[in-house]
Amino acid sequence: MDIILSSISQGLLWSIMAIGVYLTFRILDIADLTAEGSFPLGAAICSVSIVSGISPLLASFLALVGGMLAGIVSGLLHTKLKIPALLTGILTMTALYSINLRILGKANVTLLGQDTLMRTLQSLGLENRMAVLVVGGVAIVLVILALYLFFSTEIGLALRSTGDNEAMSEANGIHTDTMKIVGYMLCNGLISLSGALIAQNNGYADISMGIGTIVIGLASIIIGEVIFHQLSFAKRLITIVIGAVVYRLIIDFVLQLGVQPQDIKLFSAIVLAIALSTPLLKKKPRRTKRVGKKGAELV
């Protein structure tokens, strides 16, 4: 039971990152590799802030802002310098490695014995895993609520239409470049915030912690989309949260199987492949006519 609770709470923290990845996916039609740099950026900003005595709440907020700045850089590279989105991500991610190392001052900053959001809740009498669950739950509810409200505003709608049909949006007087920059900003802010929360949960920020984030993000999104097709925007965000939790459950399931350590990655991939294909197999007899609208569905 403990393991399941821990999977759920970790899934909640990771889902913020997955939502960030999903947004760039919708707006740019590609997975933005900036994520692999902005995730440890958030962890770095947050940890260094906490160590220097800033409250964990403010430190997490600073991480969000830092991620947004990184997003603006990517946005400008892509829209103003006309660098292809995939390369833009690689460029910013590479640059962020040095920046993250500058911020951290060394490769690994520990948060053991420091105040974190989780520890603040623990001092109020919550058990460790519950504290993580509460932090993750509150954060994800706030994020989804904020995104829902934002995407109902005029700018938010313009952003979505840029993702759906860029030419049409431009014809209707939307500054698509500006919208893309806003999109990049939003996504990387969220990814960075997720990094900040994960660092507080893990007890350290490490320069290498960004490796593989994009894979986790994509896996969460795809699991969410495979099990729930054709949903409205807000519901889609919720399914990504479910996807992130299921992904962690799958990984933990594999860890519980007792496979040889060197085979873990292979088994994770196999179990993931089975999980992803089950709904499709069951659906086979019925012919699907509806095809997801462009950009809205990945599979």
Binding site: M1, D2, I3, I4, S6, S7, Q10, W14, Y97, L101, K106, A107, N108, T110, L111, L112, G113, Q114, N128, N201, N202, G203, Y204, D206, I207, S208, M209, I211, G212, T213, I216, I227, F228, H229, V246, R248, L249, I250, I251, D252, F253, L255, Q256, L257, G258, P261, Q262, I264, K265, A275, T278, P279, K282
Partner: protein, 326 residues
């Protein structure tokens, strides 16, 4: 109708995964209920020569003390394969059931220390446990965490290096900037070299892919090279050794394993021995109920001068002439 059917399937799917996890968890509990068995957990950060040597040393020392895996010892071994996202889950699965948990390398130790403030945790292959936040003080750790540090005798290694390259004007240092342990050692080494009035040139890599290029650049500008006990460089010592041979450079790395893989010589630690030393601490916890809070962090007691004779000959140095300077 369709969506409801879909939801049912999802619930079914989730239930299956959950049931699997519960069953898995139950399986573990029944094992630990067996009072004949001693449970020891091991969490290794990544697949790597030195780290694996440390683990093997740990296990073989337990065996020497009468704890044989499968007979009276259950080893719960997890390896995160360098994936930090999995360290936390692995830590959670190790706590609760084990009498002592060994963590190998800094991120693994930090993950475990965050997950439990009760279960005794030992670490090895951590250079500066105070800096890593694992212990309050090396003499009196004060918590549930203690272990062995792989801090190497850097000053001795530097004087060995300088005795091997007596006319050196510039000494190169190469390490991976993403490894906290390496930076600590590289800074100390730089200080020690500069104290002898020799210039230092430091270059860093970030992945194994950079090593060839960075080492070649460094080799052209320096007269000898020092390498900390860096995981990335340890994995690429054959490459480093080849480039060093080409430029006739003596290389003194941090560990014995790295000398064997292409370095010239070192006076340093042997990770297998370090693992054995950590196992002795584990035995104190298992058999004598020792409290990690009061067990001082240990550094390697088994330092040795290691020489790679082939490399020495290719550099035109008589292996016999290599001795530790006073």
């Amino acid at each position: 109708m369709r969506t409801i059917g879909m939801k049912k399937k999802i619930i079914l799917g989730l239930a299956t995964v959950t049931a699997g996890l519960v069953l898995g968890a139950c399986g573990n509990t029944s094992e630990s209920a067996d009072s004949e068995m001693t449970n020891v957990g091991i969490l290794q950060y990544m697949e790597h020569d030195s780290l694996t040597q440390a683990r093997k040393g740990f296990v073989s020392e337990l065996e020497a003390a009468g704890y044989v895996e499968g007979e009276n010892l259950t080893l719960n071994y997890q390896n995160a394969q360098g994936d930090q996202a999995n360290l936390q889950s692995m830590s959670e699965s190790l706590i609760g059931d084990n009498e002592v948990i060994l963590s190998i390398a800094t991120p693994a130790a930090q993950s475990l220390a965050t997950s439990t403030q009760e279960d005794p945790i030992l670490f090895t292959a951590v250079t500066d446990p105070v800096d890593a936040g694992l212990v309050a003080d090396n003499e009196a750790p004060g918590g549930n965490v203690t272990g062995t540090s792989d801090m190497v005798p850097i000053e001795e290694q530097i004087s060995l290096l300088l005795s091997l390259a007596q006319d050196a004007e510039t000494i190169g240092i190469i390490y991976n900037s993403s490894e906290a342990n390496s930076k600590i050692q590289a800074d100390l080494a730089q200080e020690a070299i500069e104290a002898e009035g020799v210039a230092v040139k430091v270059l860093t890599v970030t992945t194994t892919n950079d090593v060839q290029q960075v080492m070649t650049t460094l080799a052209q500008e320096v007269d000898a090279v020092y390498i900390p006990t860096d995981n990335t460089l340890a994995s690429t010592m054959p490459t480093v050794g080849e480039i060093a041979a080409e430029y006739k450079l003596p290389v003194v790395p941090g560990s014995a394993e790295m000398v064997e893989a292409g370095g010239l010589a070192t006076y340093g630690i042997n990770y297998e021995e370090l693992g054995r030393q950590t196992a002795k601490m584990a035995l104190k916890i298992i058999e004598e109920d020792a409290d990690p809070a009061e067990m001082a962090v240990e550094t390697s007691t088994n330092l040795e001068l290691v020489i790679n004779e082939e490399v020495a000959k290719s550099l035109g140095i008589d292996p016999e002439s290599i001795v530790l300077p006073d």
